[in-house]
Each structure stands twice: as structure tokens, then as C-alpha cells.
Amino acid sequence: MVDANIDVLAVIRKYREEIRNEWEEGLTAQNVGSGRAALVDLKEQMFEFLNLLQQCPPKDPSGFDHYAWQAVRRFLEEFSRVRVSQGFSSEQTATFVFSLKKPLFTQIRKEFGHDSDSLASATWAITEIVDQLGLYTVAAFQKTREDVIGRQQMELLELSTPVVKLWDGILALPMIGTLDSARTQLVMESLLQRIVETGAEIAIIDITGVPTVDTLVAQHLLKTVTAIRLMGADCIISGIRPQIAQTVVHLGVDLQDVTTKASLADALSLAMKRSGFSITKKSE
């Protein structure tokens, strides 16, 4: 096994130009139509990759995870990351690595063609190395994609719970969509933070856009109200639809202490009154 390893990397070193040419031919044939700039990038990447491969020390008993292969791993991670952002698929990205097999096979036939045993073990060595590199590329690709999804989820979570200022000292939190523990937690934290920042004494949580309320959600809302009161402000819950009102009573949730209003307009009117504002209509 170790012997064959020595051979592969030596082959790469010895026939570098030929390997690179054949590899380039193969890849560019597939890349037809992606533009000259992309082609130049591709050539640079191939050059660098072969460089890094060559530098891997010959005796490598522990395999691909070894520190010696770190530069190659980093290259593949960066390569995959760029490919994800450019919109390539995982197959296209991995092809970069897998297409290295054929040029390598061509060269080892030259080197070991006379001895079928050596040829076989060299073939196996190449297959092993290239497969590992290719799989690592795919894994790096997947991870980059997953990171993007994770980031987008966070952004979505933040976007969907804005705290708006309705008037001096009156904040509103319009909730839209289903409420789960994570979201409610975020809601609570951002609302409380804004109350401290603005010194608003009344917060209105509007749940017109919430389709259903179960015991857990009701409890979360109650906790939020309690926390707001603890801090020295007050809270009104508005936008309670008839079905939700029925559900809440049916579930036996105790909303005695909490001020609730059917519409945001009613809640605003109450909040204004409590804050000492009165609104009069100008006569025409």
C-alpha cells in the first residue's frame, strides 16, 4: 500500500505537464460556454491543485486526514465554497477532481505498463486517492450549502418579528405566522430590549396574523406579558380572533390579568388613553 502511494505522487511529479494537459482537455470540453474568464480561473485552479498534490510527502500511512494533506483539504474547501456561490451543482464541482483519474491512468500505463501487478496496485492507489479527494469535495460542497440555509433561516426569523413604534411610549409587535418556542423566545427578547432602549411604557402584541394558539403559545405570551410588567411597563394583546378566544377559554388558560382587545385599533386607543393622550377630530 505504502509503496504504491510513493509511486502515484512520483508519477504526478514526473509527468506533471502531460497530466495537466490531458486534465485540462477533459475539463474544458465539459466547460464549453462558461466564458473565457471562467476558463482562466479553471486553469489556475488546476495548476494550484497539482502543485499542492505534489507537495504531499510520499510516506503517508495515516491517510487523507493526516496533517500533511491539510493544504489540499483547504484548497478543496475553498474551491467548493466558490462553486456553491457561483451556482454549480455538486456533480459539476466534484468532476473537477474525478476527471483527474483518466490522465493519471494514462501516465501510469507508461510507467508500469510492462508489469501488470504494479499497474494494478498503482491503479488502485490512484482510485483510492482521487475518490477520497472527490468525496471530500462533495462533503465540503454540502456543508457550504447547509451553512447558507442556516443563515437564511436566521434572517427569516429576525425579519418576521419587527418591533415598531406606534407613538411616543407605545410599541407594537405584529406577529405573523405560527409561533413556536424559538420564535417566541426571540420575540420576547427583542421586544424587551426595545422597551428598555426606548423607555416605552406600553407594548401591544398583535396576533391577528397568528392562525392558531395552543397552550404552549398561550403560556409563552403570558410569560412575555409578565416579563414586561416586571420591568415596569405594561402589555396589551390585540387581534384575538373569535376562534382563538374560544380555544383559549376551552384550554382553560387564565388571561384574567392581561388586557386584551379584539383589534389593534382598540388597543392603540386604550394605550393612548393610558399614556395621557386624547385624540380629537378637527371640525370640517
Binding site: K223, T226, A227, L230, M231, G232
Partner: protein
Amino acid sequence: MGQFLLVTIQVEMHDQLAVGLQEDLASRVEKWGAKGVLIDISALEMVDSFIGRIIAHISSISHILGAETVLVGMQPAVAITLVELGLSLEGVRTALNVERGMEKLRQVLLKQEEFHGGD
């Protein structure tokens, strides 16, 4: 109107400090005949159940000694912790900051005077 006592908690309050505060406050309320106590906890970033209970006790003790207590400047993290711990701090008045706290104390004490028909 009697005097107001303002207590500002600047450092993270560990258990001994909290108990000490309780005793200290009680004796000062008595000594100076303070009618109102304002406890500013805006520098407290975290509380545990022990501190939470101490705060509630301080308020009750002051009340018994004839002073009203208002807690001001509670941070969101503290409020959330107290709610999660199930400590609702019954009977403890709160306000967002010192100014509002003073205003609240004045209103409370004014009402008391009216109720008791003046001193």
C-alpha cells in the same frame, strides 16, 4: 413627604452582598424614617432565584417599616430569568428608570396621604 432612599447596585450581586443589602437597607429606612426606597438594578445583568427572592423580601421589609419600594432599570435578561423561575415579585412595584420610579413613588405616597387624611 419623608425622605427617599436611592440604592444603586453597581456590581454583580453575590449572595452575601444581597443579604447584607437587606439588613443595611432595613436599618437605614428605620434610622432616617425614609418613606420611599428606589432600588436601581440597571447594572445587574443576571439574577438567580436567591437574588430574586431577596429583592422580593427587601420590598416586603420596607413596606412593613413604612416605606414604599420601587425597583427600576430591570434588564430584559433579568426579567426573563425571573419569569422562567416563576418569581413574579408580587407586590413589588417596578419602573423602567429612575425618573419614572421617582414619579411612581410620588404618586403612591400622594395617594397614601389622601387615604390616611394627611399626617
